[in-house]
C-alpha cells in the first residue's frame, strides 16, 4: 500500500506491525522450547507445516484479492496465527489436521472477513475450533512425553503412549461421578504438580506472556482480568464444593489458560478496544472458560470462550466509550 498523504505528524515512533508480530513470535520461543523438551523434534515439523501452509494460503488469497503480497507477508500476522494454532494442537496431531486448521484460520476466519484488522474472530481459535469439532479424537489425546517412564512415576500402569489431558480426565471423572482429586491423580500429565506436563507448558506460556508485557507488546489489562476472573470463579466453586471442583490453581495452570490470557485474548484485532471494554471482555472470557470446563461438553473452553467474547467485543466497545477530556 502506498505511503499516506503528507500530513502531520511528521515524526513517527518506531512501532510497526511487523515489529509487533515478530515480538510475539519471539515470545513463543519458551513455549516451543517446552514442547521440544517434552516431545522432541516433532513439534518443529508441526510448526513448519503450519507456517508454510499459512504463508502459501495468505499469498494465494492476497493474489486473488489483488492486494500487495510482499508487505502483507512480511507483517508476520499469518505466521503468528499459524504458530499459535499449531501450539494449541497436541504434538501428535496428524499433518492434515494441522493443514485444515491453518487453512480455515487464514482463508475463512481472516480473509473472508476482510483480512488483517477486519476479522471478527481470532483466526487461530476459529481454526482450532473447526478441527476440534471435526476431529475430536485426534485432538483430545496428548502423547505422553518420552522422558516419562510411563506408569512408574505416576504409579499407574498405562498401556498406551497417549493420554487424556488433566482437564479431560476431570471432565470424564465428573461424568463418572468421581471426585476431582481422584480423577486427576492418575495422570502423568498432571497440572500444577511437580513435573506435570501441563504445568510446564503453562509456565512456558507465562514466560512468553511476561516477555510480551515487558516489551509493552500487550497491555496488562486483558491477561490480568482474564486470570483474575477465572481464578475467582474457580476459587469460589472450589471453596463451596471441593469434591467436584479442582480449585483455582489447577485451572490457572492447566489447559490453554495461560496461552489464552497472554497470547489469544490479547489479539488486538478481535478483542475489545476500549480500556474498560478490555477488562469486561477478558473477565468474560475467564468466566466462560470456567463455565465450559465445569459444565460444557468439551474439557477445555478456551477457544469457545474467546470466540463468544469476540462476538460481544463490538458491543462492549460501544457501551464503554471512555470519558473525553472535560466531559
Amino acid at each position: 500500500m502506498a505511503s499516506g498523504p503528507h500530513s502531520s505528524p511528521y515524526l513517527h515512533g518506531s512501532a510497526t506491525v511487523s515489529r509487533v508480530m515478530f515480538t510475539v513470535l519471539v515470545a513463543l520461543v519458551p513455549v516451543v522450547a517446552a514442547y521440544f523438551w517434552l516431545w522432541g523434534v516433532s513439534i518443529l515439523s508441526q510448526l513448519a507445516l503450519a507456517a508454510i501452509t499459512a504463508l502459501i494460503a495468505e499469498a494465494t488469497i492476497l493474489v486473488l484479492r489483488k492486494l500487495p503480497v510482499r508487505v502483507a507477508l512480511l507483517d508476520g500476522s499469518a505466521l503468528v496465527t499459524a504458530l499459535l494454532l499449531a501450539l494449541c494442537l497436541p504434538p501428535s496431531a496428524p499433518p492434515w489436521v494441522v493443514v485444515i486448521g491453518v487453512l480455515f484460520a487464514i482463508v475463512v476466519a481472516k480473509h473472508l472477513y476482510g483480512g488483517l484488522g477486519y476479522n471478527l474472530f481470532n483466526p487461530a481459535m476459529a481454526g482450532y475450533l473447526v478441527v476440534l469439532i471435526a476431529f475430536p479424537a485426534q485432538l483430545t489425546l496428548w502423547p505422553v512425553p518420552d522422558m516419562y517412564d510411563i506408569g512408574a512415576e505416576a504409579g499407574v500402569v498405562v498401556d498406551s503412549t497417549t493420554m487424556a489431558t488433566p482437564l479431560d480426565r476431570l471432565r470424564t471423572g465428573r461424568l463418572q461421578g468421581k471426585p476431582a482429586a481422584e480423577a486427576m491423580a492418575a495422570s502423568p500429565l498432571l497440572g500444577i504438580f511437580p513435573n506435570g506436563v501441563t504445568t510446564i507448558l503453562a509456565l512456558a506460556w507465562t514466560a512468553g506472556g511476561l516477555l510480551l508485557l515487558a516489551t509493552r507488546t500487550i497491555h496488562w489489562r486483558i491477561p490480568l482480568a482474564l486470570l483474575l476472573s477465572l481464578g475467582l470463579f474457580a476459587g469460589i466453586c472450589g471453596w463451596l464444593n471441593p469434591t467436584d471442583h479442582a480449585g483455582w490453581l489447577f485451572h490457572l495452570f492447566s489447559g490453554g489458560t495461560m496461552a489464552a490470557a497472554f497470547f489469544i485474548a490479547t489479539d488486538p484485532v478481535s478483542a475489545a478496544t476500549t480500556p474498560r471494554g478490555q477488562i469486561i471482555y477478558a473477565a468474560g472470557i475467564g468466566l466462560l472458560i470456567y463455565l465450559i470446563r465445569g459444565w460444557g461438553g468439551y474439557p477445555d473452553g478456551v477457544a469457545f470462550a474467546v470466540l463468544l467474547m469476540n462476538i460481544a467485543a463490538p458491543l462492549i466497545d460501544y457501551f464503554t466509550i471512555p470519558r473525553a477530556y472535560g466531559e
Binding site: R19, G115, I321, P322
Partner: protein, 531 residues
C-alpha cells in the same frame, strides 16, 4: 510549591532538538519587498488600494471580538488584493492584501494607557484594537478570552511558556531575552485581574529561560513576588496544549464545550502576554512575532522576529536558505504542523515555526497497514478519545458515530499517529472528517435558510392570491386597478435565517475555536487553544 497533577495520555521521549535553533540571539528580519496579509476573515478595508499607509496604521475592520485586524507592519503602499496561498492546512489561496514597503520608518503616533491607568474594560478594548490573538498556535482572539472573565471572576492566571511541540523554540528565546518583561507583565495583569495566583509554566528543557525568569522574579521588586510561581514541567508532549496545561497544573479539566474561564482560569501564551504588554504600555498593535526556522535542511537554523505578511521564502533565505532537498515546507512543528502549498505563503500571527527537513526523512515512509486495533493510540490520546474508532468512522464516512465518539474533542495533537504501528495518517482522516461535517452543518444552515425563503415565498403567494381576490372584489365595485405592491419581505427574513444560522453554527462549533476556522480559512485548524 505547586504539586503537578499530570495529564492523560501524551508522549515522552520525543526528540526536542531545541538547541539547533537557539544558538543565536533573535534578530529582526530585514523588511521584505512585499508583505502579504490574508484578509479572508475580515469585514472591510479601512484604506483603499493605491493608498500609502504608515507603520501601525489599521488596515482592516472585523466583526467585534474577532480581532482579525491587520495593522500595516511598516510604511508603504497598498498595491492590490490578489488570491494568494494561505497559511492553512488546506493550502488554498485566499484574498490577500499586498503591501509594498517604501523604506520609510514613519509610524503612527501611539498613545498608551499604561498598566496603572488601564481598567479591565479598557484592557479588553486595547487588546481587541491591537489585533491580538493567541500566538501559541490556535489563534483564538485574546479579547474573547478576557471577556469570559470579569475582573475578580478569575482565580488563576497561567502564562504558558511551554513550547507546544518539539523543534520549536520561539517562546524559549522570548523568555530568555525578555524575562523581565514577561515577569512584569504577568504581575501587572495578575493585579488587574485580581487573581489569587499566577503561574509561569516552562518545560524542563529550557534551563536558560527558567533561570532568567527566576532571576527576574527575584529582581522585579515592585511586584508581589509571592503571587507568581515559576513552574518547571517535565517534558511530555503535549504539555503546552492549554487544556493539558491546566489539567497538569490545577488537576481540573476545562468543561467540554466550555472555556478556561469557566473554571476561573485565564491562560495566555508568553508571546501573547508580551503583545498585550506592548499594547498596554506602548500602544503598539501586533505587527510581528518571533518565528523559529529549523530543521536539517536550512543552513542557519535560528529564531527571527518577522513582520506579518513576510513570505516564508524571504524568511528562509535570511537563514541561509535551503541546503538540501525537502519534501515539504512545514509551518508549525513536526507533530501538528502542515505542509505549505507555496514558499510565498506569508507568516501570520499564529506561525510559530517553519520546519524544513531533508527529503529522505519524510520520504522514507513505511507502508501503511490496516489498523490492527492494538489500542496504543488510546493510551496516548490526551483528549481521552478512541482514535482507532474515530479512524474507522472517519474512513467509512459514519459522521454521526464519529461525532458521538467526540471527534470534535480531538486536538489534532498527532500523538495517536505517532505511536500507530500501522503508520496510519490518523490526523489527516480526522481533519477531513471534521471539515466534511462542518460542510454538512453549513449546508443544513443553508437548507434552513432555503426553507425559510420557501415559506416566505408561499406566504407571499398566498398574500398575492388574497390581494388579487380583494382586487377583483374592489375592481368589480370600483372598476379601478390597484397596484401590486406585494414586495417580498425577503431581506428581513434572510437576515433572520442568517442570525439563526449563526446561532446554530455557534452552538455546533462552540466546543472550541472552530468558529474561526469556518469563518477564516487563514487560521490553522487546531482546536487546542494554545494561547
Amino acid at each position: 510549591m505547586i504539586r503537578l497533577h499530570g495529564f492523560r495520555g501524551g508522549l515522552t521521549g520525543l526528540p526536542g532538538n531545541k538547541e539547533v535553533s537557539t544558538s543565536m540571539p533573535v534578530q529582526r528580519l530585514a523588511i521584505p519587498e512585499r508583505l502579504y496579509l490574508p484578509i479572508s476573515g475580515v469585514d472591510s478595508l479601512t484604506a483603499s488600494i493605491g493608498d500609502r499607509v504608515i507603520g501601525g496604521q489599521q488596515l482592516t475592520n472585523s466583526a467585534p471580538g474577532n480581532s482579525a485586524i491587520w495593522h500595516a507592519p511598516v510604511a508603504g503602499r497598498l498595491v492590490e488584493v490578489v488570491d494568494h496561498p494561505a497559511p492553512h492546512v488546506s493550502g488554498q489561496s485566499v484574498p490577500t492584501l499586498v503591501l509594498e514597503p517604501d523604506g520609510s520608518d514613519e509610524m503612527v503616533d501611539y498613545t498608551a494607557l499604561g498598566w496603572s491607568g488601564v481598567s479591565f474594560e479598557e484592557l479588553f478594548a486595547v487588546v481587541e484594537a491591537a489585533g491580538i490573538i493567541g500566538m501559541g498556535g490556535a489563534g483564538f482572539p485574546t479579547c474573547l478570552k478576557l471577556s469570559g472573565a470579569g475582573s475578580g471572576m478569575l482565580s488563576t492566571l497561567i502564562i504558558n511558556g511551554v513550547e507546544c511541540e518539539p523543534e520549536i523554540s520561539c517562546d524559549d528565546m522570548l523568555m530568555r531575552e525578555q524575562s523581565d518583561k514577561v515577569v512584569a507583565a504577568t504581575a501587572k495583569l495578575a493585579a488587574l485581574l485580581q487573581v489569587d495566583k499566577a503561574y509561569i509554566a516552562v518545560e524542563d528543557d529550557c534551563p536558560q529561560a527558567l533561570s532568567r525568569l527566576a532571576a527576574s522574579i527575584q529582581s522585579v521588586k515592585e511586584i508581589a513576588v509571592s503571587a507568581i510561581e515559576l513552574v518547571k514541567l517535565p517534558i511530555r508532549y503535549p504539555s503546552g496544549s492549554e487544556k493539558q496545561l491546566i489539567e497538569n497544573l490545577l488537576g481540573k479539566q476545562v468543561p467540554k464545550g466550555g472555556f478556561p474561564s469557566d473554571i476561573g482560569v485565564l491562560c495566555l501564551n508568553v508571546a501573547t502576554l508580551c503583545a498585550v504588554d506592548d499594547a498596554v504600555t506602548q500602544g503598539i498593535p501586533l505587527m510581528s512575532r518571533i518565528v523559529t526556522v529549523t530543521g536539517d535542511a536550512v543552513a542557519k537554523p535560528q529564531n527571527r522576529r518577522v513582520l506579518f505578511g513576510t513570505a516564508v521564502a524571504d524568511l528562509l533565505s535570511s537563514c541561509g536558505g535551503l541546503i538540501a532537498e525537502v519534501d515539504d515546507l512545514v509551518m508549525g512543528g513536526p507533530m501538528m504542523g502542515f505542509a505549505l502549498s507555496s514558499p510565498l505563503t506569508p507568516i501570520v500571527k499564529t506561525s510559530n515555526c517553519i520546519l524544513v527537513q531533508r527529503a529522505p526523512v519524510l520520504g522514507k515512509r513505511r507502508p501503511i497497514m490496516p489498523c490492527i486495533r492494538c489500542g496504543d493510540c488510546v493510551d496516548v490520546c490526551p483528549a481521552g478519545l478512541l482514535p482507532q474508532q474515530l479512524y474507522w468512522f472517519a474512513k467509512s464516512g459514519e459522521h454521526d458515530k464519529a461525532e458521538r465518539h467526540n471527534l470534535f474533542d480531538c486536538i489534532e495533537c498527532g500523538a495517536c499517529a505517532y505511536v500507530c504501528p500501522s503508520q496510519l495518517p490518523l490526523v489527516h482522516y480526522y481533519r477531513v472528517a471534521k471539515s466534511e461535517i462542518r460542510t454538512q452543518w453549513a449546508q443544513l444552515i443553508k437548507a434552513d435558510g432555503a426553507r425559510e425563503r420557501m415559506q416566505a415565498r408561499d406566504e407571499r403567494l398566498e398574500r398575492r392570491e388574497q390581494e388579487a381576490a380583494e382586487r377583483r372584489l374592489r375592481k368589480r365595485s370600483q372598476r379601478k386597478i390597484s397596484t401590486d405592491n406585494a414586495e417580498p419581505p425577503m431581506s428581513a427574513e434572510v437576515k433572520a435565517a442568517m442570525a439563526r444560522a449563526k446561532k446554530l453554527q455557534q452552538a455546533g462549533a462552540s466546543e472550541t475555536s472552530e468558529k474561526s476556522v469556518l469563518a477564516d480559512k487563514s487560521t490553522t485548524p487546531t482546536e487546542s487553544a494554545r494561547d
